[in-house]
Symmetry: C2
Subunit: 415 residues, 2 copies
């Protein structure tokens, strides 16, 4: 069978969108339940396809991290299916009336949540994204138009086939999810320029993808950007708590966007804190400014770029500051607007930090690793927005909705 062209897939998606938008709550809910059953039923086929992708990746000399992100196993497939069921059980966002008023002239005004329409996602080697995004889109009356990486193509095709079978079982349009199978670079650019098709495009990938989007995309975008997440340890911090949180945020899963990348220390506790960290996470390389190095000779010299780098590895930058104000300034200069935390026992200092730091998420005495759709109760997530428009932070169902003004009158005209 030949690979369908981008145009063909786009036409199918466009036909499906109004039909999916008009489905009832029960129909969309049932579609996800059927899709979960189908994913479980097709476990063997999905694992076989994934095996092919892993072998190609290994043959091309991909790093263990890349192969790990690609790998599916029975547990990961089960958690994809459970993810669909969790999202199926969430309250229906379609048709929710967010505001209702009657004007003096008698006009009845409502602002009602409606689906965005066609949601495009470009993403890299994580096949579970295929399932998570499709589930959130269909639950919210949207169509998912997906462009995964070439390295995960077999896995993605098998997952989409299983989802479509579930949708068919539920009697909803199978094109509620569609996959771009021609994964050439030229086609990626054509995808970013489908202005009459995509209502939004969400890129999930590294700096190269983001640059390419900035250069080529003509459709509206929500950026799922870098996470250069800071933890600031204040002079009034509980240092035991600080150590526990830093170790969790840095080492539990260093390759993800909500891991800590930069440590900011109040000078009064810096020496003690560095001692505690060198005992509890000796495997982490620390790159520091001059003041940090003067305190602890195990710290290597950081370049200016290091303070703005998302290492995604067992590496962190360290900067010393004289006050919470300096910490806020440091974060404003180097942060990527993802997640920024303060550890302190002092409420006033904490609230100052929470209100003045400009990021998608700010945390007080908690690990940055909590900034995640699943952890925060969204079921799963389409991504984590680091921009300020439309959606900011973990994006669940609410991020996939638009608004419509509905105005009911009795013949009113404007004077």
């Amino acid at each position: 069978m030949s690979t369908p062209s981008l145009d063909d897939v786009a036409h199918r998606v466009q036909r499906a969108a109004p039909l999916v938008a008009a489905l009832s709550d029960a129909q969309r809910r049932n579609a996800l339940v059927q899709a979960a059953a189908s994913i479980r039923r097709h476990e063997a086929a999905i694992l076989a396809a994934n095996e092919q992708d892993q072998e190609s990746a290994a043959a091309e000399g991909a790093s263990p991290t890349v192969v790990d992100r690609l790998r599916l196993d029975a547990n990961r497939i089960e958690s994809m299916a459970q993810g669909l069921e969790t999202v199926a059980a969430l309250p229906d966002p379609v048709g929710v009336i967010v505001e209702q008023r009657t004007l003096a002239n008698g006009l009845a005004i409502e602002r009602v949540q409606v689906p965005l329409g066609i949601v495009g996602v470009i993403y890299e080697n994580r096949p579970n994204v295929t399932c998570d995004v499709a589930g959130l889109c269909v639950r919210s009356g949207n169509v998912a138009f997906l462009r995964g990486s070439s390295g995960a193509l077999h896995s993605n095709k098998a997952i989409v086939a299983a989802l479509q079978e579930g949708f068919s079982d539920a009697g909803i349009p199978v094109d509620a999810v569609a996959l771009v199978e021609d994964v050439s670079h030229e086609n990626a650019i054509a995808f970013m320029q489908l202005t009459d098709v995509l209502d939004v495009l969400i890129p999930r990938g590294g700096p190269r993808l983001i640059r390419s989007m900035r250069e080529h995309a003509t459709v509206p975008i929500i950026l799922d950007g870098d996470g250069n997440c800071h933890i600031y340890i204040d002079e009034f911090a509980d240092l035991e708590m600080a150590t526990t949180i830093v170790v969790n945020a840095k080492t539990q899963r260093p390759g993800v966007c909500n891991a800590m990348e930069s440590l900011v220390l109040h000078e009064s506790i810096a020496g003690e804190m560095l001692d505690m960290l060198s005992r509890t996470m000796p495997e982490v390389r620390l790159l520091g400014d001059e003041r940090a190095i003067a305190l602890d000779h195990r710290i290597e010299a950081a370049t200016v770029d290091d303070f703005s780098t998302e290492f995604l590895d067992l590496v962190a930058s360290v900067a010393l500051v004289d006050s919470v104000h300096d910490a806020i300034d440091h974060i404003a200069r180097h942060g990527s607007g993802h997640s920024e935390a303060i550890i302190t026992r002092d409420q006033e200092t904490a609230e100052l930090f929470l209100s003045r730091v400009d990021a998608a998420a700010v945390l007080w005495n908690a690990s940055t690793r909590f900034v995640d759709g699943g952890e925060l109760g969204l079921g799963s997530e389409v991504g984590i927005s680091t921009q300020k428009l439309h959606a900011r932070g973990p994006m669940g169902l609410a991020a996939l909705m638009s608004i419509k003004w509905v105005i009911r009158g009795e013949g009113q005209i404007r004077s």
Copy 2:
């Protein structure tokens, strides 16, 4: 005095933004009240500057419509001042907690409204936009970075000077509003590419501006697009009401985006309706499809493009349809997603239309002219969004806000 460079103005705006975001409700409210007083105090200077702009426009052979959009008088200045006072009295959008939950692990989660930061607006010859946008921005803790047209430069400078004097009287940063005074074409493009400065850019202008934005802009955009607004007269319409509404929507102010441009008639009432309209608005040229012309020989033949055209004049397209479904399809093909109305006495038909038509605003038995921030209770408007992301329809204070996740813990880490 030499014209300040774009970079200089950008730096001033960037310094002001965090200060404006940190102002209290009372400070921002008072700033608008003082600005209104200052606008009134400087009426003579503003009118003199506006006179210069009008003379230049007339000398360059501008059309009466263009000169009218440019013209200020004592009434228009008073209504600018009153607009500031209305917006000052609106509830504070900053810091509003839109969601609050405590997770099972004890984390307290809030989603809080925060200002976007720096709001850029590019607009054409309407000096009142300068005042409206500045008022909405400052009320919501944002900075207004404005790039008006060369034709309104004197007026805009005089208005910004008055606003800044008011802000100074209120003790808030004068750079809460800033005007780009170098209005060259190259500078407009540079403005659209201020990615480190602008949190959002809102274009208010014609198709040429929109095309230029699509081509050059690298900052996030909210489109204030065309209004090819339809009114569908259903077979169950009250034809007297329909006539009144169509005449209001078409003729009351033909040059605005919420005026009716396209009439869609159910075939069963089309003949009678066209008779009534030829009596009540004989000055309007009607361009119709073959079925319309067959009914009424005064109708001229429409091209396909006419059905997608925003005439902004005493002209309208007319199409006949056999059902509400055909009307919905016609609007889906030709509409611009602004405002679409149905006139009918049948509730079921009305609700079908309201739910299936995909536009910023849908209306039942009311004039499209109501789709306006002032009319709908927003105080004034930054524009009318025809896109689906972030804001849709008239944009008031809510459209100028972003969200921040605030997470408070007691040492929680992720397992």
